[in-house]
């Protein structure tokens, strides 16, 4: 513990050097024997670690395979009845997926969906980040908006559908508005939280260097809140993608949400399943990208 734990990185280099010195220099036969036995033990642990790595990872694959086969078997024994089961199976979905990709149907519906989410998120970032910073910075403003915001964020954006159609009409704008409406809350609240808990120490430090309010906001508060902003953005991306599908069921001529209804109307349940899986996969990818973003851009302590 002392050696592994208490030695600070500044002194580490020196000590390793000193360690080497003893193993080369002054060591006695007894010391050499102990070192040799230690080396043997280390070898065993390395091998064990190698095996352990595979043992840990393999369950990811086993789980995935198990779930897919369960699905296939359930369809094979026709739990949904003889008419439906074959087209709901993963194998049929895979074939339909390949068909959709080659025919271009899939990309024809995926790109509009991604575009709408992108617009919705961009607009919400532009709106929510400044609002969040202001609310976090000025306690009075936070108190003034608290009830309204907590109240508004509990309303499903789909409830605003009629309002949105009255304002924007049927089409892209309406969907983007709904996505904007759902994405702003995690962003505002997380940004405000991050802005509000900036350490007084940093602010004092900047003040003693002669910083005014503007410099403190620019140099300390906003950068300090970035991890929380990114966490908010990740939540927003997730919830936007979830809301996208029902929003696209309301009057637009393309998009993955529309395509779900379309496949149902054409009784192409294999395509329906393929679309559902695609929606899940894209959501997973978007979230992974956000996680990567956070790892890359959020500062660490």
């Amino acid at each position: 513990m002392d050696i592994e734990g208490n030695v600070s990185p500044a002194t580490e280099k020196k000590e390793v050097g000193a360690g080497n010195q003893t193993s080369n220099g002054t060591s006695t036969a007894a010391t050499e024997a102990v070192m040799a036995r230690f080396r043997q033990q280390i070898e065993i642990t390395k091998l064990q670690k190698f095996i352990q790595f595979f043992t840990e990872k393999k369950y990811y694959f086993i789980g995935l395979v198990a779930i897919l086969s369960t699905w296939q078997i359930l369809m094979f024994v026709q739990v949904l009845g003889p008419d439906f089961s074959p087209s709901f199976s993963p194998w049929a979905a895979l074939l339909a997926f390949i068909e959709m990709v080659t025919s271009g149907d899939l990309s024809r519906h995926t790109w509009p969906s991604l575009r709408r989410v992108f617009y919705g998120l961009s607009l919400s970032v532009v709106f929510a980040l400044p609002v969040g910073v202001l609310i976090g910075y000025f306690t009075k403003l936070e108190q003034m908006t608290y009830v309204t915001f907590q109240f508004l964020r509990m309303i499903s954006p789909l409830a605003w559908m009629p309002v949105s159609i009255i304002i924007f009409g049927v089409g892209d704008n309406s969907v983007v508005f709904l996505l904007w409406l759902v994405a702003i809350w995690p962003l505002i609240l997380n940004t405000a939280h991050g802005t509000g808990r900036v350490s007084q120490l940093w602010i004092n430090m900047a003040r003693t260097m002669g910083a005014g309010d503007w410099a403190i906001l620019r140099k300390i508060i906003i950068p300090a809140a970035i991890p929380d902003m990114l966490t908010g953005l990740r939540l927003s991306v997730g919830i936007s993608w979830i809301i996208l599908v029902p929003a696209e069921m309301l009057g637009v001529p393309d998009g993955l949400g529309y395509y779900i209804l379309d496949t149902r109307d054409r009784f192409r349940y294999d395509q329906l399943m393929a679309t559902i899986v695609t929606i899940g996969a894209i959501g997973y990818i978007l979230d992974s990208i956000m996680r990567m973003f956070i790892r890359r851009y959020a500062w660490k302590i």
Binding site: S8, A10, T11, N204, M205, G210, A215, P223, K300
Partner: protein, 271 residues
């Protein structure tokens, strides 16, 4: 004593005059500083020590301008201190660097605030990074640094803004013993090289005795018990500090500080 002679020849840089600070706690007024009267001379290394809760950190915060005294006045070269300013650099007990900036960017922070050109910024930042021996780690982030390196970095962050006086609040308290020794020797080097004026608050007697030209001992109430002139010869680190003669002088002085401290401490708790 020679300490008094030295004091006479020295110019006053910072003056504390009848300084009081009173906090209100649950409706009761609790004084933390009681009528402090002392001067800090130019190029002096002044140590302030005292029992826990004697308000030593509050004194530094008032010197920095982060808190205002309830009564009395602080002045730097005759000018009253009313708000924080880069003339008085403070090194906080906690690490105050920004975790999203690299070492180099952190050191540049103060100069960015002062709108110094990027070229000059780089030049000065590199100069002070080499002064604190951190050039090799300039592109690392704070979480990649050890305690001692973080301490050196906060030192460079403040020094680069050219403060007239350096206020250090229990700066080496969190470091392990070995790093602490190294940092103490280093701060003395920097103090000499930059002919800086340093006010150093510490709760450790060894540290106060090793570093200070004078040691102000506070009591539990937050008043000055005694100002002790530290006549130990410098350097006080390294081989010299192992010599019997030095050791005895050192221990005698530390004992004096300790006895003063003990006399001024109200014992709380069970015993």
């Amino acid at each position: 004593m020679s300490g008094n002679n030295k004091a006479k020849n020295k110019k006053v840089l910072l003056r504390c005059k009848n300084l009081w600070k009173v906090y209100e706690k649950n409706g009761v007024q609790v004084p933390v500083c009681c009528g402090l009267d002392f001067d800090v001379y130019e190029n002096e290394f002044l140590c302030i020590t005292g029992p826990t809760g004697c308000g030593k950190s509050t004194i530094l915060k008032m010197m920095a301008g982060l808190e205002l005294p309830s009564m009395g006045a602080l002045s730097l070269r005759g000018k009253p201190i009313t708000k924080p300013n880069r003339e008085r650099g403070i090194i906080f007990q906690e690490y105050s660097m920004l975790p999203w900036r690299t070492v180099f960017q952190n050191v540049c922070l103060g100069m960015e605030i002062l709108n110094i050109s990027p070229k000059e910024r780089k030049e000065k930042a590199l100069k002070y990074l080499s002064l604190v021996a951190l050039t090799y780690a300039k592109d690392r982030y704070p979480y990649e640094l050890s305690g001692g390196m973080k301490r050196r970095m906060t030192l460079a962050m403040v020094l680069v803004t050219n403060p007239k006086i350096l206020l250090m609040d229990g700066a080496f308290g969190a470091l392990d013993a070995k790093t602490k020794m190294v940092m103490q020797a280093e701060i003395i080097e920097i103090w000499k090289k930059e002919s800086a004026t340093i006010v150093f608050v510490t709760s450790e007697l060894d540290e106060a005795v090793k570093l200070g030209d004078r040691i102000i001992v506070l009591n539990s109430k937050g008043a000055v018990m005694k100002i002790i002139n530290n006549t130990l010869p410098r350097p006080r680190h390294g081989k010299v500090a192992q010599e019997p003669r030095f050791l005895r002088q050192f221990v005698a002085l530390r004992e004096e500080v300790f006895i003063t401290l003990k006399a001024g401490t109200v014992q709380k708790g069970a015993s």
